[in-house]
Homo-oligomer: 281 residues x 2
């Protein structure tokens, strides 16, 4: 079940001339709601604000945004103990044409959804992933932010419908590992953790940032760097991060079996202890 709210009012519809719907001219955040509260709200706000600055979209006021979210959570019949809020900010409504109207006011709509949970086995035994054929284009202007231009992810996600496959990893058009369709990726080789740099393309995930912060706090090194596809053949462990499920290890990547090894377990333990209990095993 789902509920949508536009500036705090429950709605089924949105303005037909919204620039998000015309050009993907906007951004979104997918926030985990736990015990009625948004998790990592400040990190989500920070990415949203950065995205607005980068795209030149007038930033929604932070208190007003929180008020909208709280109002939606209070009004909704969704079980907010464990839910997902999708916050979509577009550059506003406008006539035809790429040029934004002067003094365009951003449109904020919030969708509330029943939360999904990964099975305990997923965290314990790992999940399966494949490597998508769909590549991510190099566009530094959009790298890191979570814009509404997401056709690459849609096309990648359409590559499989086997429910056993939890995620597809994506390479950029020059063959670097970037991310999953809906997650960030960490690799482990010889006990060293690395995750792709998100400078040319890809989304800088909130859970990725949280994982990096936990690693830094524990003094565990993590290389944020370019990772060539060929490294996928020599790695020991892989784990994925996402704001909804936290951290989950891979047990298989394409045809290759992987260990759910001690490094992944340690990271999951740290993340579980720091506000994401669902990834404790």
């Amino acid at each position: 079940m789902s509920d949508w709210y536009l500036h705090g009012e429950r709605v089924d519809s949105m303005p037909v001339d919204d620039r998000g719907a015309q050009y993907g001219d906007g951004l979104f955040e997918t926030v985990a709601i736990r015990a009625g509260q948004p998790r990592f709200w400040d990190l989500h706000l920070e990415r949203l604000t950065t995205g607005c600055e980068r795209l030149g979209i007038c930033k929604p006021e932070k208190p007003a945004l929180r008020e909208d979210l709280d109002g939606a959570l209070a009004a909704s019949a969704i079980d907010t103990e464990w839910a997902t809020a999708k916050i979509v900010v577009s550059s506003g409504t406008g006539p035809r044409g790429y040029q934004r109207p002067e003094a365009a006011l951003p449109t904020v709509r919030i969708g509330l959804f029943d939360g999904r949970r990964l099975a305990t086995e997923a965290y314990r035994d790992g999940v399966q992933a494949l490597v998508c054929q769909t590549r991510v284009a190099l566009q530094p202007l959009l790298a890191g932010i979570k814009s509404l231009n997401r056709l690459e992810q849609v096309l990648a996600r359409a590559e499989w419908d086997d429910a056993q496959i939890a995620e597809g990893l994506m390479l950029d058009t020059e063959g670097r590992l970037i991310c999953g369709t809906m997650s960030n990726v960490f690799i482990v080789r010889n006990n060293v953790i690395a995750t792709p740099a998100i400078t040319r393309c890809g989304v800088s995930g909130v859970m990725r940032r949280h994982v990096l912060a936990q690693l830094a706090r524990e003094g565990i090194p993590c290389d944020v760097r370019d990772i060539r596809a060929a490294e996928l053949d020599t790695l020991d462990e892989v784990f994925l991060s996402n704001s909804q499920f936290g951290v989950v290890p891979l047990r298989q990547l394409a045809a290759r079996k992987l260990d759910v090894g001690s490094v992944s377990r340690r990271v999951m333990g740290l993340v579980a202890a720091s506000g994401v209990p669902e990834c404790a095993t």
Copy 2:
């Protein structure tokens, strides 16, 4: 003034969970309406159909689409002697997540707008353009089609607000000339016409196709090839094509003055005589 129609019904709103508005998961066409009829309807339909096939979106039925358009034109208070129809096809509505729902039905909405006209002087004396800083990313999966992922064009168009500048030319991230924000581009050097290949990125415009067809019919060669940015410093003439204004020459590109030369004039004459009378000079 503008009017929007959803499956033939006049609307102010659209479903809040449309995937076009969530992910830019869709396509659009901007069709010139002249004397109540869509111009180059078959070319628009062909690009839209190709786009649906490429993106895996269920194709709207051609007769139903025309019926929707005709219904909108009949119902609207817009002066359909000279108007613009924007046809937006999204993959349909859906819950959260990149995966399209099974049996998703595409949503078709049509916006009708008062037509804009370029001044006679624009065709006669040429217009000014600049070269945008915003680059187009290389993404062959989306090249040629007109998807709803248009943030690059929005960012490029936001680079100027001088009404004297009619268009911004865009290079790809590797420095090739690709297109204008809302037009295709043709260059002339030593009386030879060339236009960028649209294989890695860019939109294959309906008017571009019409121009190429007219040139072929007249036996006038046109190289469809990669054009490096450096060629912009050595060209003699430039003209732009767009479904609404037809063909218009440049008189200035950034700081460089250009001739509105005989080749551009000849092409404009051909295009004017073949169904686009507004670009006759």
